[in-house]
Subunit: 328 residues, 2 copies
């Protein structure tokens, strides 16, 4: 659909691509000149209808979720956003109104996070709607934050609150849950929003580079992601479930059904930062985070050995059903 495609790009995406390296989206490729002395950090994340969002979710939110998942990776790697490429696979059911709303959502985040649309690819698909984004950021040469680097004795720290998105998803899957847990309308809306539109911790990038030993973003659930960080760092980690920062809405749901601790620890889509940091550096890190309006919470410690445990208030490690954690 060349002419339809060109028309869509002209009307909805060209106005977003003001960076000179985007060549007004009138070329096969974009070009960027990374500042001298920097490395380019590259990340890619896709969101797919029925996997990462529900059919019929607002187009603005889908655009934001796709971009923010990538911005969250950049933040965790200590990188400042530079720009992104967008690949959009659109079923026939997508109309111009949808594309206009999608572009609106994207425009708001391009502005909010100062991350330029550089180019992309649009395709009609007989399959499902999917949005794949590749984002670029910069760090001083050799300074990308790694998952590897955590040391025995480090504090294990997370940003924001954990489990909200997974609980928001649980609310959507079980329409009776909000009522039976006596969530207020505001609490329900908060969790639903946390699922649909994550808040990437981009303002934390510089403080991570300055203070942390290791960091990653929590996208596949705290338990699994902490296990990855521990494994590549060659340490073990122990976390106390009672120390997990929970939103009031999450806390109310957990009191209603204590088994939801598994959803909170393994559900994913948090897009918060998980970091390991020496206890000496923690006060300075926390101060820097507070200045960028991000709350940090120490949830546990790294030690020698391997494996991770999330301990309940009785001191016993929680065990989770999901097969992904069977090998821990």
């Amino acid at each position: 659909m060349p002419s339809g495609e060109d028309n869509l790009i002209d009307r909805f995406f060209r106005p977003l691509a003001s960076d000179p390296g985007a060549f007004n989206l009138r070329d096969d490729a974009a070009a960027i000149t990374p500042p001298a002395g920097t490395d380019l950090v590259l990340t890619t994340d896709a969101v797919i209808e029925g996997v990462h969002f529900f059919p019929g979710d607002p187009a603005q939110a889908i655009a934001k979720k796709a971009l923010r998942a990538n911005l969250s990776d950049l933040a965790a790697k200590g990188a400042e956003p530079l720009g992104f490429l967008l690949t959009l696979a659109m079923p026939k059911s997508i109309d111009e109104e949808w594309v206009a709303a999608f572009a609106d959502g994207l425009a708001a985040d391009i502005e909010a996070f100062d991350c330029a649309l550089l180019g992309g690819d649009t395709d009609a698909t007989p399959g499902l709607l999917s949005v794949s984004i590749t984002a670029f950021g910069t760090v001083p040469h050799g300074k990308m934050m790694r998952r590897a680097g955590a040391k025995a004795g480090d504090a294990i720290v997370v940003s924001g609150t954990i489990g909200d998105a997974a609980l928001g998803l649980a609310l959507r899957r079980d329409p009776k849950l909000a009522k039976s847990a006596k969530l207020s309308a505001g609490e329900e809306a908060y969790l639903l929003e946390r699922y649909l539109v994550p808040q990437p911790r981009t303002t934390l990038a510089k403080a991570l580079r300055a203070h942390a030993h290791a960091a990653m973003d929590i996208s596949d659930g705290l338990a699994g992601d902490l296990a990855k960080l521990a494994m590549v760092s060659g340490i073990s980690a122990e976390v106390e479930a009672d120390k997990l920062p929970l939103s009031p809405a999450a806390r109310k749901l957990l009191e209603h059904d204590p088994k939801l601790i598994e959803t909170i620890c393994t559900g994913g889509d948090d897009y918060e930062i998980l970091a390991a940091i020496s206890r000496d550096a923690f006060p300075a890190f926390e101060k820097a985070a507070r200045e960028s309006r991000v709350v940090l919470t120490e949830i546990g410690s790294a030690a020698g050995g391997e494996g991770i445990a999330i301990k309940g208030s009785n001191g016993q490690a929680l065990s989770f059903k999901r097969p992904s954690f069977s090998h821990f």
Copy 2:
């Protein structure tokens, strides 16, 4: 499917990611240090089941088509390949054997085109198989070949042969066509292969930078792509259909059914280079191309004004049915 995903990445993709910037695929992101004095050229192209390949096509070929479509863009922009990110959306029907074959195809092209796997994202999808690749290349600062830049009086030039892939697709859609056109088994196989596994003209990148005014790769059909190049360059272009370089198999099909000229000119998936070059520079360009074993053919001329025409042997411009060309 974290543990299944990790398992797939471990077994099949980690061995391909030997570049240090890929961090063994054990981090959230990759990092590259573009050589000083260069710009980074960024391009992204996706292939989707039922759109760019048929369900059941060999996994190796799908991997190659996805990567080569991107390498073709880099070549047309005069860029040397540096690396790529891979996003793979896999339906449940995909098994380990398929992934192993896909990785084999990718490994062969990583080696052949010296383009490193830097990272990516794998997702299970309830939808169709799709492969989205973002590729990175380098050019000397400010030297990315542009679509804009063609001048009145330039020769319009293409690499290789035109229309093979579109005719290969026509053979797949009409199983009787090969026989009725009396194609030999070898001719049929050649066209089918040209559809499934394009040949990116990566060796032409340097000569394009040295000699051409404007270039792009032909992925949406010669007619439409030439129109794009002419529009952004602010020129008109006239091509003679009789001058189009055709393979023997394409020529035989065209003699069987002269209406196939439309398929040849508008069908797409050629992944050949379209360039505009001053007539003075053409001999040196052709010599450089021949040294890199790419055949170039002059097919027409650029002039002032706007619009493009592909003229038949009677001197009349061909008119095509596809709506995308209604405005030419």
